[in-house]
Symmetry: D2
Subunit: 277 residues, 4 copies
């Protein structure tokens, strides 16, 4: 299992969220409180959008995030209005850059915490369902990347929630055919560089933790003294595997079996149900 | 493309062949003479058999062999009667341990120099031909590993030359269906820990270089002063991508479209033709 | 801080101690119970002696031990009668192979858990005390390696306990000159390939945990059903940062301010006091 | 030995110089034409200045530059008006991030191609000459980093050419005392984020290659069709170990024993002579 963070809002230095908070993602890499494992040291990745390039930049490494000097450097120099960060705790799959999140396809970015139970049994069948045009682009060996390519196959470009719902349905159906009772466990973040979708779902309704930050406006009223809140725009929003600190009123749990959209003009939350096309 | 070395004979220190010769594999990693690239610095691997374990040990790393301190250490301490060593020059595939040769399955070891032309186009089709029971064990993203798993699918355990011939036939047929004129380019080494097979073949009859060492007996007569030759058994044999030095009479080219078997009781050479089952 | 293990006795597979025990060193890399940090993921090292080479082999890597596939391979294939293993939790020094333990000089091996408090302040002074002939061999930037080279400077070759006592005295004196009240915190293992010394000491008499295994004879009587105990010689002995499991009667704490010698003919324990020459 | 590139001018994407040119630094990492070694695969580094931070960002890795995916990503997303890039061919020193150039101290950046002959003999003496306040900041084990810290010791902050001249004098004097005829071989780039100094010098007057680019104005007249030249400011300047391509009139050799300053208001070239304070 893993921990992740997705940010959308005023351009900020990565450091502000990766290192500065009391329970930052770096702290979570050593001392996760809500994860399956306390240590998330099997590689990490950061993906961010910059001006002048529709596709996000990726930086990944196979060592732990907490001692990575290059990540420390980038965090001090890279500003971005939309970025993902992910720390990995492998459940056995190889620790290599092609297995580190976020994954990218064109302007799309995808990251995942969770697992397909029994993936070893159904890897081949799921791979066969991937669009043959996309198949050869799969670079790693994780269940997460297959989930991403299934979502791409099922129309991520046109309708992300529908594509993810279909992917989830296919994974559950395939799992059930192999006698796996609860095949899917996922918290997902997906973005095209403009909008950001976050999903919380699991076949057994026991989904991993996921939180979103309160509206900045409300937080400013609650905490008029917190400088950071004055510097960011009203539309700034964070989605995280676990809260980055103890600021009262700052965090809300994403409800079980639901997803949210962070977008210009107003964020929204919906319920999520796997579904065939 | 890559360079490799396969050894079978009296147990020797890896150093004897990996570092000591004038044009050792380490030297070839920087200054290959007969390879497609002079530099082979995209990862490496060594596999060796030890007493008390039917399966070989593997050591792989993603940096160049020439500056790897762990390889230098192992070479000074590991003795083996049968080992493979491989240095990689990637043609674009990710540089990660799961893409480093040799590959292993149970007691089998496999390494390759060459490529499937147009692999990106036919990766999915070839993967589909792999025995579903074996599919999920594929850990990397190279054409070489798919070739290994196809050979396993086609009976490597029972009849290695027949399994390789069928794999080659399938790769060529699939390539031709995609309009690739010369789909296969390969020099292969395969072993089960007892016998060792080496293949040299390419669809266009322009195979990469491959050499085998002369009989030790003959070499001893030619070079009575070379101490190394006195220390090794009569059955010792080397197969290499390029000669390790200039000892006259030491090296013979493996003929185009042929394969050899190194085995207790007498080595043999045959012609090689891809063939359906 | 770090965790380590030193073994001397019947030749065994590294796996037997590195992976097999319930609270093996690999388990300690993720879930140390007695260490300063629960996670020890900033590189690791193994050093072992083999027949035909007076100098030990070293294998080191900068990632965590728990996900290292090469270590897993070596553990399944390397037998040794005397080996060290070390997992590192950096206190800020760079994570690089030259900072991984064990350190080696000729046939000597050295590993350490602890720290010199205020090392940054006195690094230069301590380096100046290293024998100029040895100075340029220092490859890393840790306090531990400087401690090793000071011990070599003060006669490790002739009288290890005296050399370590002098090193400790010099470190404490230098620390006190810089106003550091308790400069030294150390548990050390040192070997020349025949004898093995282990030290437990700290300036404030608050030394990190260190344990030695009971006599095999006694353990066999206590646990006649434990097969491992029947396979090893009477002289087999382990020194560890924390017990590898819960076998009653198996482990004894090394007393504060003392050191032990494991050697052919009978092990011994003495008190340890830093002392000038 | 190594290869490097220093850029000062209009903010450009790193890709423009690191990957795009026919004989880019990436091409030089595999096929250097003027270097001592054709392969420069023992680690690399990039350092760049960004708005809002006086200190440069560093990205370093220990593998070859040619297959590094993170470097490829950064090159596509990072713009900078002043950056250094360096590819390393180790002459034996450990391949680790702390030995990769550029080195940094506060806002200063430093990179080097060359060597101190006999460095092993005089490492200790040279280290002793480093300002004790700076000593503990030395993180690696190269001669280059010691040269940087000696220059810092001798007043780099106030007068860079004088500080480098004094460093060179000290290295030569120490070398001569050890019987080394030609102790110093160097091409150096140094910057404080505003001005950029480049030095070409060697004790035997056989300095490694170094080139600077022609004035942009002149190049535009010569090559009115080269689009890149229209996009950059008149003050743009490059210093490189070897030319990045064959554009006639583009490159001039830095004369033996000289240094240049690239600065707002007009670049200048002077002769360089090691000198005591």
């Amino acid at each position: 299992m893993c921990r992740w963070l997705a940010y959308s809002g005023s351009p900020i230095l990565l450091d502000t969220l990766l290192y500065k908070p009391a329970h930052s993602l770096i702290d979570q890499s050593l001392h996760s409180k809500l994860g399956v494992e306390t240590t998330n040291g099997d590689g990490f990745g950061v993906g961010w959008y910059t001006e002048g390039n529709d596709n996000p930049a990726l930086f990944k490494d196979i060592g732990p995030a907490w001692n990575n000097r290059n990540l420390r450097e980038l965090a001090d120099h890279v500003h971005s209005p939309l970025f993902f960060a992910h720390i990995r705790a492998s459940t056995g799959t190889a620790v290599q850059q092609t297995n580190c999140h976020p994954f990218r396809h064109g302007r799309w970015m995808f990251m995942h915490n969770g697992a397909i139970a029994g993936f070893h049994l159904m890897r081949r069948e799921l791979m066969l369902l991937v669009d043959p045009e996309l198949y050869a682009d799969i670079g790693g060996s994780t269940d997460s990347e297959v989930m991403f390519y299934l979502a791409l196959t099922y129309g991520l470009d046109e309708d992300p929630p529908a594509a993810v719902a279909r992917m989830a349905e296919v994974v559950e159906r395939t799992g059930h055919e192999h006698g796996v009772e609860f095949p899917l466990q996922m918290t997902l973040a997906i973005t095209d560089g403009v909008r950001l979708w976050a999903f919380r779902y699991s076949s057994g309704r026991t989904s991993r933790s996921l939180f979103y930050s309160s509206k900045v406006e409300a937080l400013r009223r609650l905490h008029p003294d917190v400088r950071f809140l004055r510097d960011i725009s009203d539309e700034t929003r964070l989605i995280v595997s676990e809260p980055l600190g103890d600021l009262p009123g700052a965090w809300h749990e994403v409800p079980e079996s639901s997803y949210g959209v962070i977008q210009p003009g107003g964020d929204e939350m919906y319920s999520f149900i796997p579904s065939a096309a």
